[in-house]
């Protein structure tokens, strides 16, 4: 667990955090510290608990056991709103833009927490903080599409707009739940590189669940492997070996055979 940034302040602290849905254990109690500025890739087969873990850190799912603190502030009892939005933001596989609004208005929605309801309404006609929105779109490389309706953008463009929205929300911690699962390999690498570069340049913490091992190695500082709701390994990216990855993704039957052989 030794990491290059272990002497930086803590961004995310999980203490014995677990989640069960009825009798099903999604995440076994786990303790984890992520320092500010770290870029952590969560690897692991589907159903290993990555999404649940991210949702708990985002504050959208409450853990069954344990406690989470973001930059020293306990997450329990924090309601969705301005304070939580300043701490943590999330991009999803499905981008979650409003398809009928322009890319620019979708990006500016990242500022909704800061605006009054009247300002929010007027912004649809006369975009408010427009310069910041355009700058964010420029940063993610789709400024020329600012006035196109989000529903008419390609998948890669939509994900860029979602990242630009996150830039305006400006949280200290960026979470990404399979952000590239619906993109082709070229687009996927561009998006991961963009997320990693954004986090690096702004000193933000990035935690992303992905399936592409090579991208995890290239763009992240730390890799955590999850299987059946438990962390199997948690190492600096360059120390993750192919054997560890094979064991992580092995089918249960094959793995048992390999162990007994």
């Amino acid at each position: 667990m030794a990491s290059a940034s272990s002497n930086s302040p803590t961004a995310i602290q999980l203490d014995a955090v677990g989640k069960s849905f009825g009798a099903i254990k999604a995440v076994s109690p786990l303790t984890l510290r992520i320092a500010q500025g770290e870029r952590v890739a969560l690897l692991g087969p589907s159903g290993s608990g990555k999404t649940t873990l991210l949702a708990m850190i985002a504050g959208t799912t409450a853990p069954t056991t344990g406690a989470i603190a973001l930059r020293g502030k306990p997450l329990a009892g924090m309601r969705p709103g301005r304070d939580l939005a300043a701490l943590v933001g999330m991009v999803h596989q499905q981008f979650d833009l409003v398809p009928h609004l322009s890319a620019l208005n979708n990006v500016l929605a990242g500022r909704l927490g800061q605006w009054s309801a009247a300002a929010a309404m007027l912004s649809l006609l006369w975009p408010r903080d427009k310069d910041r929105g355009i700058a964010a779109l420029e940063r993610v490389g789709v400024a020329q599409r600012a006035y196109v309706r989000a529903g008419r953008l390609s998948g890669g463009e939509q994900q860029r707009v979602a990242i630009a929205r996150l830039l305006l929300q400006d949280p200290a911690i960026i979470l990404a739940d399979e952000p590239i699962a619906s993109l082709d390999p070229t687009r996927a690498e561009e998006i991961i590189a963009l997320l990693a570069a954004t986090a690096q340049e702004t000193g933000k913490t990035l935690v992303a669940s992905i399936h592409a091992v090579s991208l995890a190695r290239r763009h992240f500082t730390r890799i955590a492997g999850m299987r059946n709701g438990a962390v199997q390994f948690d190492l600096p990216a360059h120390q993750v070996t192919n054997d560890l990855l094979d064991a992580l993704y092995a089918l249960p039957g094959l793995r048992d055979e390999a162990q007994s052989a």
Binding site: L84, G89, A109
Partner: protein
């Protein structure tokens, strides 16, 4: 297992059959069911389909009557929108505003549970045969229907973008303007246009009770047994509905995501 004879569905079926049998005895089956000239009149009416009267006088009357009918429909729809939008927005059932939602729903239910013709009787009785009576009679029930549909459409939008904005720190009213309304708007507009078509038909019906328009011209033609003229007015009515339909298609195409 013995079949349960008194199963509620079976009892209901029997009751309905009994009601049907009784209703048949209530009809007089002698020759006066359809009056002797009835079949001939129907034949003449349909023969006139291909012979609408197209004299300059009739066309002038038809254009003027169409204008009246559209004007009542448009004014009625304006009132309906003014009622439906705020009430529909309040009536959508989200947990954070139950206190506003229940009275809004009650108003909408009251407005739409009375038919426009009944509202027309009430307002004609109160205000006399004035255009205001027609506009109120159209606008109130249509407001109730539109508001109810708006509430449902605003509620049934995709939830993922809304969740995304909530985690970005936006509260309900900001989410309303930036996600709920834009996503529901195309369907709301499409339904509004459909109701505008209905308003044109209703407006024509209103004119039977003495408020001018295509309906009254149709009635006058029937009184004169001038079936050709009646068809002219009916064709104008159909044309109005088609125009609204085309307009609606054009607007919807522009709003598609």
């Amino acid at each position: 297992m013995t079949p349960r004879f008194f199963e509620s569905r079976r009892v209901l079926t029997l009751l309905l059959l009994a009601a049907l049998a009784w209703s048949l005895t209530a009809v007089s089956w002698r020759g006066d069911l359809i009056h002797s000239g009835g079949f001939r009149a129907i034949g003449e009416i349909f023969a006139a389909i291909v012979r609408p009267e197209l004299s300059a006088d009739t066309l002038a009357i038809a254009f003027r009557a169409s204008w009246t009918t559209v004007a009542y429909a448009a004014a009625g729809m304006t009132l309906a929108l003014a009622l439906a939008f705020p009430l529909g927005v309040l009536a959508r059932s989200t947990t954070h505003q139950l206190a506003a939602s229940i009275p809004a729903r009650a108003f909408l239910a009251f407005f739409r549970s009375v038919h426009e013709l009944v509202w027309a009787w009430l307002f004609v009785a109160a205000l006399g045969l004035s255009p205001v009576a027609a506009v109120l009679a159209l606008g109130i029930p249509y407001g109730g229907i539109l508001g109810r549909i708006y509430a449902e459409l605003l509620q049934d939008v995709p939830q993922a973008p809304i969740r995304a904005l909530r985690t970005a720190g936006a509260s309900e009213w900001r989410i309303f303007w930036h996600a709920r309304l834009p996503m529901a708007l195309p369907d709301m507009l499409s339904y509004t246009f459909y109701r505008f078509e209905c308003a044109i038909r209703s407006s024509a019906i209103m004119s039977f009770i003495g408020l001018g328009g295509l309906g009254r011209e149709i009635q006058l033609s029937l009184d004169d047994i001038a079936f050709g003229r009646m068809w002219t007015f009916l064709y104008f009515l159909i044309a109005l509905v088609l125009i609204v339909d085309l307009w609606s298609t054009a607007v919807r195409r522009r709003l598609a995501p």
